[in-house]
C-alpha cells in the first residue's frame, strides 16, 4: 500500500473558515442586528473579498426576506457549524488545532464565520474582513466531494435550527451551490 504523505485536501474547512477568524472577531450580535437593516446592499469587503459570489442567483424562487427572518440566528448557526465540523469525521482533524488553542480562539472563529455568512447573504456589508476565498484556499486542491460534504453539514445545521425545507431549497441553496462561489474554493 502506498504510504505517500500529502497535505490533506480536507484542510479546506480549516483554511476556508479559520482564516476568517483572523480577519474579524467583532461582536456578532451587531452582525445580526445589521442583518435586518442592510439586506439590499452589496457586500464586497474593502480588501476585495467578494463574499456575495452566489447571491445574484438567490431570490428568484425565494419568497422571503432571509435576512429579516434568519439574520438574528446567524451567530447561532455559525457556532453550530463550527461545533459540528469539530466532531465530523471528515473535518475534525482540521479543527483540532483550533480547539487546542482554547475556547477564546474557537469563539473568535465563530464570530468571524458569522460575519462571513452575514455578508455572503447580503445581510450586511464589510463585516467580514478576512482574505478572499481564493487566497484562503490557494494550493490546497479542495475537491468537489469535500465541498459537497461540507454543504451536507450546513444543511443539517439549518434543518435542526428550524429552517423549513423550502427556504433551504430556494433561499440558501442558490448561494451555496452556485458554481462561481464553489469555484473560489474548489481546486485552488
Amino acid at each position: 500500500m502506498p504510504t505517500k504523505i500529502r497535505v490533506p485536501a480536507s484542510l479546506f474547512l480549516i483554511t476556508c473558515l479559520l482564516p476568517l477568524a483572523c480577519g474579524d472577531s467583532g461582536d456578532t450580535t451587531d452582525a445580526s442586528t445589521d442583518a435586518t437593516t442592510d439586506a439590499t446592499t452589496d457586500a464586497s469587503t474593502t480588501d476585495g473579498t467578494d463574499t456575495t459570489a452566489g447571491s445574484e442567483s438567490e431570490g428568484d424562487a425565494c419568497m422571503v426576506d432571509i435576512c429579516m427572518l434568519y439574520g438574528a440566528a446567524v451567530p447561532m448557526v455559525a457556532s453550530e457549524i463550527t461545533d459540528r465540523a469539530a466532531n465530523d469525521m471528515q473535518f475534525m482533524d482540521d479543527f483540532a488545532p483550533l480547539v487546542a488553542e482554547g475556547q477564546a480562539a474557537v469563539d473568535a472563529f465563530k464570530a468571524s464565520l458569522a460575519n462571513f455568512i452575514s455578508d455572503a447573504y447580503g445581510c450586511s456589508t464589510d463585516l467580514y474582513t478576512g482574505p478572499t476565498m481564493q487566497e484562503a484556499h490557494a494550493g490546497l486542491g479542495i475537491t468537489q466531494m469535500e465541498y459537497d460534504a461540507f454543504l451536507g453539514l450546513i444543511v443539517g445545521v439549518l434543518t435542526d435550527a428550524g429552517v423549513p425545507q423550502d427556504h433551504i431549497n430556494d433561499c440558501f441553496a442558490p448561494t451555496l451551490t452556485n458554481p462561481d462561489f464553489a469555484a473560489t474554493i474548489i481546486g485552488q
Binding site: S10, Q90, M92, D93, D148, A149, T159, D166
Partner: protein, 234 residues
C-alpha cells in the same frame, strides 16, 4: 557616482538586507520558543498564538483527547450492539489489517493527516461489505493504531439509488447499532425537491456515533455519506 562608491552602497544594502532577514528569522524563531511565546500575543490571531498555527503541534495522544472531547457531547446511553463498520471493527482493526484488506481488494490508499489516517479511493461495494461502492474512504486511527473512525463517500446522479441505499442501510443500522434519529425522507421524491434536500440518520450510542446522509448537492448530483466514530473517554 563613482564605481567604487556604487560597490560600497551595494555592499551596505546587501548587509542591511541580510541583517534584517536574520533579525526577522531570529525574532520569529524566538517567538515560537517557550520563553518568547508572549511575543505572539501582539499578533492579531485567534487565541494570541502564531497566526499560521505553527505553534500548535499536536501529538497523536493530544488529538485523541481533543477528538474524544468533541465526541463526548454526542455520547448516548445505550451501548452499541456491534462495532462493525463496513469491513472493519472500531477499536480493533489496526493498520496492518487495513493494509491486508486494501491489498486483497486492490484498493489504493495513501497516508493523510500526518500519518493518523488513510484515504482510499474507488472502493468496490463488496470490499466494504455493503451494496454501494465508495469513491472515497477515510480511515482514522488512534494513538495506539486502532481504528477510531471510518467515513465512506459516494456521489451519483440517481436519487433513487441514494434513497434506496439510505432507507435499507438505516433499517439495518437500527438493528446493528442502537436507536437512532432521522431527519428528512429517504425517498427519491424528497431528495429531488430541490438543491440541498437531505435525508439523514444518526445513531448516538454510548460508545459509537454513526451518521448516514444523502444530500442533493444541486446540479443533479447526490452525495451519500456513511460514517462511524468510536467515542473514547474524554
Amino acid at each position: 557616482m563613482a564605481k567604487g562608491e556604487k560597490r560600497r552602497w551595494r555592499g551596505r544594502i546587501l548587509r542591511w538586507g541580510a541583517g534584517a532577514c536574520l533579525a526577522f528569522v531570529g525574532v520569529v524563531g524566538f517567538a515560537h520558543t517557550e520563553g518568547g511565546r508572549a511575543l505572539l500575543g501582539y499578533l492579531p490571531s485567534p487565541g494570541g498564538g502564531c497566526p499560521r498555527g505553527y505553534d500548535v503541534a499536536l501529538s497523536n495522544a493530544q488529538r485523541d483527547r481533543i477528538d474524544a472531547g468533541a465526541l463526548a457531547k454526542l455520547r448516548g446511553t445505550t451501548p452499541v450492539r456491534s462495532k462493525r463498520a463496513f469491513a472493519f471493527t472500531l477499536g480493533e482493526t489496526d493498520r496492518d489489517a487495513v493494509a491486508r484488506w486494501s491489498q486483497a481488494g486492490g484498493v489504493a490508499c495513501e497516508t493523510v493527516e500526518a500519518g493518523r489516517a488513510l484515504r482510499c479511493r474507488d472502493i468496490p461495494a463488496i470490499a466494504l461489505e455493503r451494496s454501494l461502492a465508495a469513491e472515497s474512504l477515510l480511515l482514522r486511527f488512534d494513538a495506539e493504531g486502532r481504528l477510531a473512525g471510518v467515513d465512506a463517500s459516494q456521489r451519483g446522479r440517481d436519487p433513487a439509488v441514494a434513497a434506496t441505499y439510505l432507507h435499507a442501510r438505516g433499517e439495518a443500522l437500527d438493528h446493528a447499532l442502537c436507536s437512532g434519529s432521522r431527519r428528512g425522507e429517504a425517498t427519491a421524491a424528497a431528495l429531488t425537491r430541490g438543491p440541498l434536500s437531505q435525508a439523514h440518520a444518526e445513531y448516538r450510542c454510548a460508545d459509537v456515533r454513526a451518521q448516514l446522509t444523502a444530500t442533493n448537492n444541486g446540479h443533479g448530483e447526490y452525495l451519500v455519506r456513511e460514517s462511524y466514530q468510536a467515542i473514547g473517554d474524554a
